[in-house]
């Protein structure tokens, strides 16, 4: 394990530990409103200041980190697995299978997801807990976010199908199933890892954007996405730098994932 991977691992572990300790570090919770101190700068009582309605930003960052760091990778995993299964298999099988799979992918890509998501929200009951709402949001993102990755994986698997080592294995009488799982899939891993970590920030930001449709995290539950919405319309970076903490955390977490996975990629290769 090289130094960068160790650092990334330590950073992710630190972020996870701190967010796991939110109950102790911010006992007042993420929903408590200090209405006499709205939009306040950092102080001893509020380390990262307060938001527009006086909620402690530090507490919200901790709880939001917990939610986003658990659910965004879960959604990314779901979408990557679906992409691997659909794209990888279609590329490996080739011919009619690839054409049908890519046609389905194209169909998915061309669907007006915005309206489908609005319909999905309209079908959801109104009286649901914020946690249920956020889980459904990330699940929807995971279920819908596989298409682009599937195209990449289909193309990669297609090129592997005609690679020399696959031809040799096929000539040696290796079954199609074994060929796929033992020879093709391991070689798709770098692409899968890349797709996985790319998806994490995309899903975090998508969750924030879905808030406009009422599909995001329900109040008062925080998430990185909802915290990033605070940056909308910020006039100057230098005026309130503490508002950038969720963004910095997001960048650090994504970079850490990248270092971890690129190391994994080298090991696999």
């Amino acid at each position: 394990m090289n130094l960068w991977r160790k650092l990334a691992c330590a950073l992710l572990a630190a972020i996870l530990c701190v967010s796991a300790a939110a109950n102790w570090l911010a006992p007042a919770g993420y929903a408590k409103q200090y209405r006499e101190a709205t939009d306040a700068p950092p102080s001893r009582t509020h380390w990262l200041g307060t938001d527009e309605i006086g909620r402690d930003r530090f507490a919200r960052v901790l709880y939001g980190t917990r939610i986003s760091l658990l659910l965004a990778p879960a959604a990314a995993l779901l979408s990557t697995l679906m992409a691997a299964l659909i794209g990888g298999l279609a590329g490996y099988l080739g011919g009619i299978w690839a054409r049908v799979a890519m046609a389905v992918t194209d169909l998915f890509l061309s669907l007006p997801w915005l309206f489908l998501l609005i319909t999905a929200r309209a079908l959801m009951p109104l009286n649901v807990s914020p946690l249920f709402s956020v889980t459904v949001t990330f699940l929807l993102l995971g279920l819908l976010g596989w298409t682009t990755a599937a195209r990449v994986l289909c193309a990669t698997a297609g090129s592997l199908r005609s690679a020399d080592f696959v031809r040799q294995a096929r000539a040696a009488g290796v079954s199609r199933q074994r060929l796929f799982w033992i020879h093709v899939m391991p070689n798709l891993k770098p692409v899968l890892y890349a797709q996985f970590w790319i998806s994490i920030p995309v899903f975090i930001l998508s969750e924030a954007n879905l808030g406009i449709l009422g599909l995001g995290v329900a109040e008062p539950l925080p998430s990185w996405g909802s915290l990033l919405k605070e940056l909308e319309g910020l006039v100057s970076v230098g005026d309130e730098p503490w508002k950038f903490v969720p963004l910095i955390l997001l960048v650090l977490a994504v970079m850490s994932f990248q270092f971890l996975l690129s190391g994994q990629e080298q090991v696999t290769a």
Partner: protein
């Protein structure tokens, strides 16, 4: 020495004042320039009789010539194309004496024939004119009788209360112009329209008004209206000096601008607009029966209202640029507001007590009704409205103090409207009412129980409660009376009933906030729409 210096200084000041005076005089005399500001949506029509949306109404205000105009500053009715008018005692007939020597923008002379033509068009049922609806007091024909080229009387089948003020919205069309759709009597005329981008208005060369010094109005050469829905972009353009004004500013943007340029922002005080919360009281609504019982109980609604801290809503959400609402009409409506109404006291203890009297009880911090159902309901509001979302979250915490659990849900606007007007699948809503009309007749569509906009329980065949029947009676009585005192008494009582029964829990009245660039002169923002350009004829723009 000292006296000489003083004299010199005085002379210098006098010269400076004279120079400034002559400069400003010249600026006013020359006028010119282009005023630029944003419309928040695409205008749906340029036909002044079909106006329903805010953008089209702004264009109608800038281009349309009207017989009478409500002065947005004094709230008094003033003569425009009609130099005098008289409403008959029975309130059915209004007679106008028109100014002579006026022409439309294309040079066609204006006469009483044009007024008669406009009224015929306006009252044509096939046109479905929202402006025309305000004049429809009863079935029957509206008769426009041309007495002479400068005199016309219009007779309605039944009395129309506040008849003269309704003409503020009626832009006169030309009957004889070869290009009726572009001939206008207002200060500006439509010159160019780029869908999705901008509307260009140019000075009407035949506009009839002059200022006190005899200079032709308007001073401006043109107005460019950028179609821009994004408030951030609008603010950015304003800060760059590309826009002359922002007509209606959110409190958040107001504060940001105030920190850097306090001289550019204007808080004209409480506007006519209100924000309110209401519960679904529709009998056929697909919500549990026990919740319907809560929502239809005046005691429950009053307790919820009492547990909401309106001062905090004004202070926290609107940064002090809003006032706790006292009732259905804002105190800004000087004549029609019932000044006997007292502010709703914030008292969670009194709210809890009232709920206990109704059989509710606390169990492990959660409020339960007499059948043991936990008091949980959802409040929906439109996604993207930061102020409403924040109000909902504040109310969520306020109600938590009396054991009521609230789920805040934000929905896209069409979904919300569908739930509110079609499926009735909601429990409570926070939305706002934008009042453009000072007269309560403009709200007939809200208060009559048979109306579609009687939001808590619309389109009732017969009033379902005694107090709704009483509101119906009072609203009809005031609408058919021409005695202003009687009308005021009736509407005062309506306001009292609404405050007692709380079908709408009125939360706040927003202040009228606006921004005017230092390059725009003569602006005096007011609370009535259009706040910043109501005196557009007298605005001037200087070079940056």
């Amino acid at each position: 020495m000292s006296n000489a210096m003083t004299r010199t200084c005085r002379r210098a000041i006098a010269v400076a004042v004279l120079c400034l005076g002559s400069l400003s005089g010249r600026a006013v005399a020359q006028g010119g320039g282009e005023l630029r500001f944003c419309l928040r949506m695409e205008p749906k029509t340029f036909d002044p009789l079909k106006v329903e949306d805010e953008a089209s109404a702004a264009i109608r205000y800038l281009t349309g010539g009207v017989l009478l105009r409500v002065n947005r500053q004094t709230q008094e009715l003033e003569p425009e194309l009609a130099h005098s008018w008289k409403v008959s005692k029975d309130g059915r007939t209004i007679t106008f004496s028109l100014r002579s020597g006026i022409s439309f923008s294309d040079g066609t002379p204006f006469s009483a024939q044009d007024v008669a033509y406009t009224i015929r068009q306006l009252m044509d049922p096939a046109l479905h004119s929202a402006t025309g609806d305000a004049f429809r007091s009863a079935t029957g024909n509206v008769e426009a009788k041309v007495i002479s080229p400068t005199q016309i009387s219009i007779t309605f089948p039944a009395p129309v209360s506040g008849l003269d003020r309704l003409f503020d919205q009626v832009a006169i069309l030309s009957e004889h112009s070869p290009r009726k759709e572009v001939a206008v009597l207002g200060p500006f005329m439509l010159a160019d329209y780029k869908p999705g981008a901008s509307v260009l208005l140019q000075r009407n060369p035949n506009y009839w008004k002059s200022d006190e010094q005899g200079h032709r109005l308007p001073y401006l050469d043109s107005i460019r209206l950028d179609i821009q829905a994004n408030r951030d972009v609008e603010m950015l353009h304003f800060k760059r000096g590309e826009l002359g004004l922002i007509n209606s500013l959110d409190s958040e943007y107001f504060d940001k601008l105030e920190t850097t340029s306090p001289q550019l922002v204007h808080d004209a005080g409480p506007s006519l607009d209100s924000e309110q919360l209401w519960f679904n009281e529709v009998a056929k609504a697909p919500i549990p029966a026990y919740k319907k019982n809560w929502f239809r109980s005046a005691n429950f609604r009053r307790a919820i209202s009492e547990a909401i801290n309106r001062e905090d809503l004004s202070r926290v959400v609107y940064h002090g640029h809003a006032q706790p609402a006292l009732g259905p009409f804002s105190p800004a409506n000087k004549f029609w507001f019932n000044d006997k109404l007292k502010p709703q006291a914030y008292s969670p203890d009194a709210a809890s007590k009232a709920l206990q009297n109704d059989g509710f009880h606390l169990q492990n911090g959660a409020l339960k009704d007499k059948d043991g159902n936990e008091v949980v309901f959802s409040i929906i509001t439109n996604a993207g409205s930061k102020t409403r979302e924040r109000m909902a979250v504040l109310i969520q915490e306020d109600l938590q103090k009396i054991g009521v659990h609230v789920n805040v849900v934000t929905l896209d606007f069409p979904s919300l409207i569908e739930r509110m007007t079609q499926s009735f699948d909601y429990e409570a809503i926070i939305l706002g009412l934008t009042n453009v009309d000072l007269d309560p007749n403009g709200e007939m569509n809200v208060w009559l129980s048979s109306s579609e906009n009687h939001q808590w329980n619309p389109q009732q065949k017969v009033p379902e409660t005694a107090w709704e029947a009483e509101i119906d009676r009072l609203m009809r009585a005031q609408a058919s009376s021409t005695d202003l005192k009687q009308r005021k008494e009736a509407f005062d009582r309506v306001q009292e009933i609404v405050v007692e029964e709380e079908p709408f829990i009125f939360l706040i009245n927003k202040n009228a906030l606006s921004a005017v660039s230092a390059t725009v002169h003569g602006a005096a923002p007011v609370i009535l729409s259009p706040q910043t350009f109501w005196n557009v004829e007298r605005l001037t723009v200087s070079a940056k």
